[in-house]
């Protein structure tokens, strides 16, 4: 199990990386942390002609607060998100999620940019940026463009990035007053890809949601911002209302079948997560009790 031969170019700047991508088009792959790319190459599922290694571009690594935005460089590693005080303060959802991403040795190399650009529908960070209402910053030959996270993911391993563009940063609105988060996923083993997961961002005031963004993952070909959340916003949440939202959620999901779960199981688990999430965010454990029985 050895990767097929390829050429290697170590980018010296973002500009240089873009030039390399422009020159090689879709025969090139961007190498950042490599934690998804390398397994695929070792298995010869992918054999790009050239790898453009952006790993040395220090300008793309780091976490900073600018105004009311938390700006996370694309090369920021999972471990950085886990340890960052800024992330803990302003977007703790990312920290909570990263604890579920694979294992320490993977988190030391894997990057947020790599994870988002890879767009595995079962991975955590895409759902988080959707739930957080983040913006993806990409740079290409024509300059920089900003893409809403909800518009970024287009399908399994498909994004709005074109082959000559580089994902450079993620901008996350800093958490405001009353902001609260919930992250949970059901995975067969520690660090496995989720069977179903939920990254949620909410604003709770006086026992009600004034905002609720539910980012489900592993329930379709991309992270899903559940419309069913709308039923719970600015409403008095009762078991009946929650059951209604769960039904709406099950209807809007179109989950895939795989070796871990049937579509019916994914719908079911998503509704369990919805109940557990709402119960946790509103601190009302009675809402957790089954509506599915």
């Amino acid at each position: 199990m050895k990767a097929a031969a390829f050429a290697y170019a170590r980018a010296t700047s973002v500009m240089n990386a873009l030039e390399l991508l422009a020159a090689h088009g879709d025969r090139a792959k961007v190498l950042s942390g490599g934690q998804s790319l390398m397994p695929a190459m070792n298995l010869r599922l992918l054999s790009p002609d050239i790898l453009v290694d952006v790993g040395g571009l220090a300008e793309l690594r780091g976490i900073a607060v600018r105004g009311n935005l938390l700006v996370v460089g694309a090369l920021t590693r999972h471990v950085d998100l886990l340890r960052s005080p800024e992330v803990a303060l302003h977007a703790s959802l990312l920290r909570d999620a990263v604890a579920h991403v694979a294992h320490p040795a993977i988190r030391n190399r894997g990057t947020i940019g790599g994870s988002l650009a890879h767009a595995d529908p079962a991975s955590e960070l895409p759902a988080c940026v959707v739930a957080l209402g983040a913006t993806i910053v990409v740079r290409g030959p024509a300059g920089e463009r900003r893409i809403a996270a909800t518009e970024f993911f287009k399908g399994i391993y498909e994004t709005a990035l074109s082959p000559d563009e580089l994902l450079v940063a993620v901008e996350v609105p800093v958490a405001g007053r009353g902001a609260t988060f919930f992250f949970q996923e059901y995975a067969r083993r520690h660090g496995d890809y989720a069977v179903v997961g939920l990254a949620a961002s909410a604003v709770v005031a006086a026992g009600r949601f004034s905002d609720l963004r539910l980012g489900f993952f592993a329930v379709g070909d991309r992270p899903l911002l559940a419309a069913a959340a709308g039923k719970l916003i600015n409403a008095s949440v009762t078991s009946a209302l929650l059951a209604e939202a769960a039904t709406a959620l099950a209807d809007e999901l179109d989950p895939q079948e795989d070796q871990q779960a049937s579509p019916a199981m994914r719908r079911h688990l998503a509704t369990v997560l919805l109940r557990r999430c709402v119960a946790a965010l509103l601190a009302r454990s009675e809402l957790e009790a089954g509506v599915t029985r």
């Binding site: 010869r44 083993r189 520690h190 070796q259 199981m265 688990l269 369990v272």
Partner: protein, 796 residues
Amino acid sequence: MTVTRAPAETLSVLDRPNSYIGKTVPRPNLDRLLQGRGQYVSDLELPRMAHVVFLRSPYAHARIVAIDADAARRMSGVIAVVTGRELEAVITPWVGVLSHLKGLKSAPQHAIAVDRACWQGEAVAAIVATSRAAAEDAMEHVVVDYEELAAVTDMRTALDPATPVIHASLGDNLAFERTLDAGDVDQALSDSEVVEAEFVFGRHTGVTLEPRAVVADWNAAEARLTIYQGTQAPHMVQNIAALHLRLKEAQVRVVCKDVGGSFGIKVHIYADEMATYALSKLLRRPIKFVADRVESFNTDIHARDHRCRGRIGVRSDGTITAFEIDDLTGIGPYSMYPRTSAIEANQVVNLVGGPYVTANYRARARVVFQNKNVMCQYRAVGHPIACSITEGLVDLAASKIGMDPVEIRRRNLISDDAYPCASPSGMKFEQLSHHASLAKLLQMMDYGALRAEQAALRTRNIHRGIGFASFIEVTNPSATFYGVGGAKISSQDGVAVRLDAQGSVICQTSITEQGQGSESLTAQIVGSVLGVSMERVRVILGDTDNTPYGGGTWASRGAGIGGEAALQAAKALRQNILDVAAAILQSRPAGLDIVNNRIVNADDGAPRIELNELARIVYFRPDTLPPGIQPELMATRHFVPRQYPFAFTNGVQASWLEVDTETGFVTLLKHWVVEDCGTIINPQLVDEQIRGGVVQGLGAALFEKCIYDERGQLTNANMADYLVPMSGEMPDIEIGHVVSPTQETELGAKGAGEAGTAGAAAAVANAVNDALRPFGATITEIPLTPQVILTALGRI
């Protein structure tokens, strides 16, 4: 660990002062492994060594119309591309049958497929190059023209007249069938409550962390083949390689240093390994084959793919009146060589109902061919299946009559004073301890308190379960296992012990080490018997040129058989040493002893002469010895069990777990095992064998399954999709022992390597069903995935 030991009636050679027997001492070979200085076959490089990769059939069943390797042969680094037809000139095909498994049939299998590939993963061509990467590059340029054939994939329809026959010469797809009818099952069931269930077992595999690896080095000038291989049975490899390469055994040396896990995966000889030996002979240079992980999933033997209907009869007083099973298993297109693929089903028939007194037992087992990877013996062969069926049925029976699962076992387990006795299937039991083991287990787990906790939690909608599994385990197999069927697999082992010129001991044994502690237990026994400290004992194993002839390490036989040979060899050497010492000291041998590396007086322990001084005299100044004395400071002994075909062990396991009934996820909380392997040489090593074995069983219970599609494609042949047990989900495992030594040997040790795996899945399945009892759901299928559990609960 806690031990209940019957009082020893007499002091044996093992109860000497400073004995290492029964003591936890660190294994002598660990530092090498801890510092990254192990010598695994994967690490080995030889001058002129080339690497082979195998182009493998992408189809489950296909005719090979043509192979075009011209482009590949011209590529950089490529040494040769060899087809099955070309390799036939060097190596003969084989048929994996044993005569004592009556009716077992199989077809000739080639090292590389000739004309037809019979499973996805069967080697179709070998590409030899200067590096693995170069060989893989060239492999992409070998063009094979296949004609896809209908694949037989579902064992349930493999025998239907409409299903194609995989090997026309065999007439049908039935490899083996065994039936058994003991007592009067119909009568027994007619006046009992009868409970019936179908038990389904996922196909799984061993996933040794170091894949199979071999370096074959044909030295044409010496006409000798050296095989470096991670194998459990070097002499078996020697015999088979010689046979099919048309060599004498003396022309084949098998060397086996460190092995990265075996578990039965590495006790077989695989076609690609045979091909590697042959390629070395053909190309006259060392050839290295290391399976990559995908190849491992596609070609390492699979196991356990069984479907079994089981019935149990029970009376209202809890008496179990009969067991009946109808077992079906699909083994792939060939019976594996040389141990065959009928053993697992045969063991299921042998073992069902084994712990219980019931005399009425009827069984049928059918083994069918199919176009999937081959199945064969993997750790605890047949045991987890037999145990899951038996213990699942016992729990179903208890539930039917409203009896506690412990109580029904108490009423039916063979009494501890009933031995020797035999099972309805004819298995002879020398001495087992089911009741003592169960009593000890209940005490360790505090059963009453656990039941109370379970009840309290249920009121809070938390669903925990307790599951039990009593089991028996086949260990120390005699020639009954393979030899009588014609396989050249030795059931005896040999140990040679010698004193070196400085009073240290060199010990050569035919058992092998893959981490179980063979080296340690040999040194412990030899050191104890000789009166020599362990650090002075060096153990050599894994080299057919440098060890006595023997079976190796498999079927829980290393300690019981190899250990006894070590004991007897050490006793003989001890006597030889004392004879010489008596001559030197002008004393009587009986008046002397060896303690702490010196000869002492047997009565008062007074030191007489150091062993190194004795050795100096023997080796360098024999002229000073009395006339007529010829010292023999080397002794060799062999041992094989004769009285009992197998030394059965027994034990019982319990699982405590929680089921999230909303999600179907199971959390393992705790696991207990009490087992009886007779004399315990090193308590820590025994416990760790059991723990490791339990976790393999837990993997089977919850996670592991080779998933094939209807066309015979293995769809999860990687470690991301085939789920092995990892540390995050595994529980702590508490272990206790009851000790009933076998009287067949002086050592008294029985095997312990497979006890954990035998009962773990059964205990978990029973615990899950116990947790689900309020929901009226019963599951008799493993792995117990969330999908399976949610389905049983009617949630989806």
